[in-house]
Symmetry: D2
Subunit: 505 residues, 4 copies
Amino acid sequence: MHAPHATGHTGNQDDTNEFDLDGDTLREECGIFGILGQTDAAALTALGLHALQHRGQEAAGIVTFDGEQFRSERHMGLVGDHYTDAATLEKLPGKAAIGHVRYSTTGETALRNVQPLFAELSAGGIAVAHNGNFTNALKLRKEIIKDGAICQSTSDSEVVLHLIARSQKERSSDRFIDAIGQMEGGYALIALTRTKLIGARDPNGIRPLVLGDLNGSPILASETCALDIIGAKFVRDIKNGEVIICERQANGEVTIESSMPFGEKPERMCLFEYVYFARPDSIVSGRSVYNVRKNMGINLAREAKVDADVVVPIPDGGTPAAIGYAQESGIPFELGIIRNHYVGRTFIEPSQQIRAFGVKLKHSANRGQLDGKRVILVDDSVVRGTTSVKIVQMVRDAGAKEVHLCVSSPKITHSDYYGIDTPDPSKLLANQYVDHDEMCKFIGCDSLHFLSVDGLYNAVGGVERDPKNPQFTDHYFTGEYPTRLVDLEAEKGNIKQRSMLREAG
Amino acid sequence: MHAPHATGHTGNQDDTNEFDLDGDTLREECGIFGILGQTDAAALTALGLHALQHRGQEAAGIVTFDGEQFRSERHMGLVGDHYTDAATLEKLPGKAAIGHVRYSTTGETALRNVQPLFAELSAGGIAVAHNGNFTNALKLRKEIIKDGAICQSTSDSEVVLHLIARSQKERSSDRFIDAIGQMEGGYALIALTRTKLIGARDPNGIRPLVLGDLNGSPILASETCALDIIGAKFVRDIKNGEVIICERQANGEVTIESSMPFGEKPERMCLFEYVYFARPDSIVSGRSVYNVRKNMGINLAREAKVDADVVVPIPDGGTPAAIGYAQESGIPFELGIIRNHYVGRTFIEPSQQIRAFGVKLKHSANRGQLDGKRVILVDDSVVRGTTSVKIVQMVRDAGAKEVHLCVSSPKITHSDYYGIDTPDPSKLLANQYVDHDEMCKFIGCDSLHFLSVDGLYNAVGGVERDPKNPQFTDHYFTGEYPTRLVDLEAEKGNIKQRSMLREAG
Amino acid sequence: MHAPHATGHTGNQDDTNEFDLDGDTLREECGIFGILGQTDAAALTALGLHALQHRGQEAAGIVTFDGEQFRSERHMGLVGDHYTDAATLEKLPGKAAIGHVRYSTTGETALRNVQPLFAELSAGGIAVAHNGNFTNALKLRKEIIKDGAICQSTSDSEVVLHLIARSQKERSSDRFIDAIGQMEGGYALIALTRTKLIGARDPNGIRPLVLGDLNGSPILASETCALDIIGAKFVRDIKNGEVIICERQANGEVTIESSMPFGEKPERMCLFEYVYFARPDSIVSGRSVYNVRKNMGINLAREAKVDADVVVPIPDGGTPAAIGYAQESGIPFELGIIRNHYVGRTFIEPSQQIRAFGVKLKHSANRGQLDGKRVILVDDSVVRGTTSVKIVQMVRDAGAKEVHLCVSSPKITHSDYYGIDTPDPSKLLANQYVDHDEMCKFIGCDSLHFLSVDGLYNAVGGVERDPKNPQFTDHYFTGEYPTRLVDLEAEKGNIKQRSMLREAG
Amino acid sequence: MHAPHATGHTGNQDDTNEFDLDGDTLREECGIFGILGQTDAAALTALGLHALQHRGQEAAGIVTFDGEQFRSERHMGLVGDHYTDAATLEKLPGKAAIGHVRYSTTGETALRNVQPLFAELSAGGIAVAHNGNFTNALKLRKEIIKDGAICQSTSDSEVVLHLIARSQKERSSDRFIDAIGQMEGGYALIALTRTKLIGARDPNGIRPLVLGDLNGSPILASETCALDIIGAKFVRDIKNGEVIICERQANGEVTIESSMPFGEKPERMCLFEYVYFARPDSIVSGRSVYNVRKNMGINLAREAKVDADVVVPIPDGGTPAAIGYAQESGIPFELGIIRNHYVGRTFIEPSQQIRAFGVKLKHSANRGQLDGKRVILVDDSVVRGTTSVKIVQMVRDAGAKEVHLCVSSPKITHSDYYGIDTPDPSKLLANQYVDHDEMCKFIGCDSLHFLSVDGLYNAVGGVERDPKNPQFTDHYFTGEYPTRLVDLEAEKGNIKQRSMLREAG
């Protein structure tokens, strides 16, 4: 199953780019937020999206409904770049809003793909935003285009919109259920109609979605940190396979209705939400992400005993695990690597001469804590290993006597198809170096350690992996996918172009 | 039939705005241009659109096909603001392109409405741009939305796209004919597929469209001035009701095929193209627009004999008629009013105090030719009369002894529904003042003259109007519409909102 | 005296640029406007500068004084691009303002050169704006730099500021007189202090300056059209060599004081103001510019009798003279060339292929009035002749049987040093072709005619040129300069770089 | 000596702003960087300034010399916003460059104040950039304006430029020494002439400046982190009172010459560089900033023994001290507060309703490490206390049983006059609450602890403060200023307006 991923291999992960500012990480595609029944719904949504910015930095959009009309603002760039002034928010009146931040994976960064997307229905309008990926979106897209539909974007969400528009059901919520019943994959979805805020999570619960409450107004958000920023209360996680319908009744009251239209089964939350994506202060499926990450460091210290002078996190992802590792091992925790807070996402494409100087835009060595020391570096994950090579070298250049790289998650061997941007599997470090010593030599460290799959399961859920019924989504480590991969099989792993139109603005 | 027009009464024509820079004119909605088979097709299209800028200044878009992919750039603003640099044109590679300039009439100036619009068909893509208006677009829009279609814009063109996508025909050109067969109104349409440039004019030929040729590559354009700017040859007018299909064959040759799928009948070109819209250097249906306008002035001098010292055009629209008037009457032609060339479309919204000074942003009086003289002012048309009042006053303030306003077209009494932006009929000067003397008094002139309908027909076509089979479209003067008005009747003249979504960007 | 001009030969007049949108004209450097004692002084100044936009399109600046502080806004671009919104004008409070539009001649388009310039004096601040050129600015600049002054711009105005700052006089108006007493050249200057609006014209009166009045508030402006736009009254021309001091007294009253500190002598107004620069509706030194230009056409018709079918102006400069020519000759006046109103100052730098098509961005032929006809083209002036060549060819391509070019001013043979941007003299048509027939052949016309110097003098002043005491500044035609040329002689005609600093923004 | 500071109290520190994103910190005004003799000098300078961005985020400027001309780019905003593309850097050719980042303290954010500033000298040009503040700049400014100089900016650096320009010395380096000999205060200065890169530190060495080397090319920079980012070697600190002249000789060789024109005395480096300003990975005066801050935490743990469950840093300033405190006390270090990495400097000005929700844009509580715990919060400094109040409340809201605030620096009681932006002394927490218990009550914590002055001295230099000859600049804690305060005394503490001109752009 090492065929190229439908949406996975983008140019930004080109491993020859010395100036790769995002580093060697996987990327979440999206974050979503919706609220029903509050004045300033757009401003609250902008704040919620700001708290979810780590889930997608390329574009942000908000749709509101003001009682008569839907209003939309969609912009490339950060939430803070476009939704911070009164003038913009005044264009988004209304007490109901949904919003979306995304990191693009399709290579086309056009505004037409920025969510939420909107459709006029004969019974009214509907706006939809989603986080995740549908594994049969291409098949459905082809079918509806053949049937005379016009697709304006290359986004999976538009397929959902078309299925809703084409549904024979009467009520918009039934149309919504009708539509997602045809979709497969991993997703969290929110929709806004004239009276309803609707949410749904995929049957496996791969992508997260939580229910919050602000003075009686329901909120749906990807993570609890989006509730915290506006002082909203966390109510509960949306269940895997659940559809939740918040509705503003004629009397102004807001009712919440839940259904499980496709039955119940155990949740299989994506492990990478714990390893990397979710913010450390979020509570995901009842677990503090920070504490889970500390547990990973603790388990790693138990599995990988290294004699050293300092434990140094690779900021910021490795910090909680490094604290756990340091506490468990008794070796002091020190900030041996400093991160530059002003790194944007682009910088000077340097001349060959400047490249040769070994410019360090994102990280710098804190020589005082590295010189002459045996250093344990803790990182959350290693994808292609390119950044690790550079950081190990930087630490050695700062005088470290030994450098040991401890990774608080297992080796990544398989692509994701549920909304995580993964490089071509052949570029993954774990597939390039089967021999552990060679991998270690490539990285340039004195020893190299990965947390075991069971160690990770234990850190998250307290028990080992159940091979018959794995408690989590873990195919990137194990190759066991929780769903069929319809498009990938149909296209023989060769999905390049979704639309014949390429549009800049 | 004086109900408000579906798309006709916009806020910009608010007659209380002292700073109305566009003046008291009607507005054409659009200009279109397409070319097949030339390197730099996008640059040529940008130049063609630049020559058509007078037909629409609000937004401009270009779609190209590069052999594999369609590319699109769409921007609010003038052609010269966005399509002048190599960087933008490099995003539009390919030897085939269509483009569009528009003046918005719907009140929503969103980018999503900027043409050309594009649809993925199962057999390939198609881009469409149009000039004009469909009188049954709303009815069709409702039907296809009810049938599950998703409309992303509020543009009539999108309805055409949906009808093409839904057509059961195989060939894109047949689908195109299928679609326009369902549309009513006045329009010129161009479409671009992977191999074809398609054009069509409505059965009455209300809106113009010409065929040109640049080194063997066919061009379709609203006016001949768009051919002249790039040195292309004028071939012929597209006939009313004609569909023309230019196709790039496998051997690289370009074939041109014409059909009259809905039969033949006499053309009824819109008279306002001659009166105001078309550029004076264009040849419309075989007639030099400049010469036609001079004829109007000549006929006006015959109909309205005024004893005066100078003939002064209201620039720039009234200039050719003023030259004709002066030559016929023997009274000297002088530039008694100077136009400021640097007037943009917005300027300081002045304080009440400054308004009181009587600021003249667009026109100024050339006192040396007005002071102490009996002045004949020649204008092309009068819509609400608001600008005329100000100009007559300005001329008097400059010392004119007498001011006679001669208008080289008849009184406007009815709304247009074929792509011309008309104010609410109740605001038309001719409907506000039935009594000619009162109208003259309102304008403030010593005498007021309009060209007769027969005088206009004679100036354009050489003969009087045939009341049984009018040779031109002339409802704004006569109330006789050349087609049914389906939407207007269905909505009882009350069409306000086309979409539930309002989007700024 | 054909040495290269200090500030005269810029790259934009490169005669190889097929896309030279400004055409083959000379350029005025600047327009100035000031007002004392009106609420909304900045808005009124913006309107005045808008009316003077033809004198300089590259940049515009306004300085106000609000009773406590001077405020400044300076921007590259048109007045209408930057001073049209309430937000900008609110940053410019106060009842006193001066403003400036400029066309750059030094090749450096930096913001730091945009006027008005400002200096802190120990007794208060002073802002200065000027139109014209000082012929000894470089010499003075070197002296004050040697003496420890810091020059921030490359503008002549800054030298004036330094001389004011260094003056030993007490009163700012005396300092002003002290400073301009050291300057030579052709200029109109305005200055704003805490209480005064000061104006001055050079001893010859080469550049124009008029005094206006708006409800008791004095205005100084380059041309009367800047008074007309705001409904202000024209009071009188500032005399050559006059210094006028408008002062707001403690009781709120505004006094006006005039002096002739350098004595009196006859005015020698620049003839090019009449030929090309001033707006046709302006009154310059008591003469209607439009009427003077018509006179030039009349005199030209008398001097150059041509048998032809139509008189066609090259718009817009040639129009008044063409009307005069037509009236005098009895040959009909027709708009045979149409000007595109949407030409900005930049457009697509076309590929070689597109250049070959002979793109016509600015002018187009009105074939209906040219085909088969003997055409007299009337232009206001010919500088290098490059545009004339193209227009004659365009008119021939449109079918003209004969093309006669009649120029309503004499041959230009010498550079200007008083604020007009002239190309290197060797590039002037009149210097490249001494033989008239060869010149005619180069232009491609059947005959070529220039107005005589006496014909021009007669058109402007009613009498011939007095060779002993020429009534106007006319060195571009005659080589007789009204002043010394200090810098030019000192630098042996080789003045390239004024500052060691080059700054983009 | 509690008079308002000349440049110290800006509106951004308004303590009523709930959305104060920069928090309750002091601000450094500037960072500087220069390099002589490297191709791509501008790109290297941009990278160096990027590493110094923490010293000033409001504006950045670079001046280069290309052998013939100086070039300048100056922009409001971050280095990464304006100096990242090839197009900008191509405008800055040359092998010599100096650059500057600044945080504005004067309240006027005009471009004209952005450094480096430039002056033409008769012997050539000179560009100057500085970090710090001159305590007699206003006095000198008044003198030179009285003497006829024109000041274009309100920056202290311009005074230096004028003194250089007015110096009677021949060589630019002697003029430089002549000029700084007249200045008093705390500063690091760099200058660029046609052949030289010059640097200087004030006699007390209050502001830092280091010498680096990149392949034989000398570099001057505020901190060593600017050397690290481009892989340059650290050579040594510039000494207090030293002037260093790097010169490119005719043979291409670069010589370095050092002098102590004003004699030698012990250095008194500003303690706040260690407490807050310098980056933790910088080496300042031979000391690792990170290690010094850890020492502060260790000393604080010894001085302030608190029984608690977790040590939580207030990120990012408090982190090194918190690690030191945790190691010394044995209480676990945990990230109980998470910082949002996407906080820009502006965000939605929220409505009253949203304010009431207690929005947390910058920090959020990590409930899993706070709930039910006794928490020690470690911060680097407390200025007005406003942020502390909010953070303590946030930690309590997250369930903390006890909250103890430990500050790793002494109480701030006095204004700075050497380049640090300090609020009005009356707003300082330490001056508002003399009683420690009341201060603790205001903050809302269970106990409140500040590091003693001796504890700080010990952490930085290893020994206690010598009251007779303090080893560091420490007036903010002690009131003992290292220099005279000329301007402040002359103006009686009331310096509001430096220039009569206010300019936006």
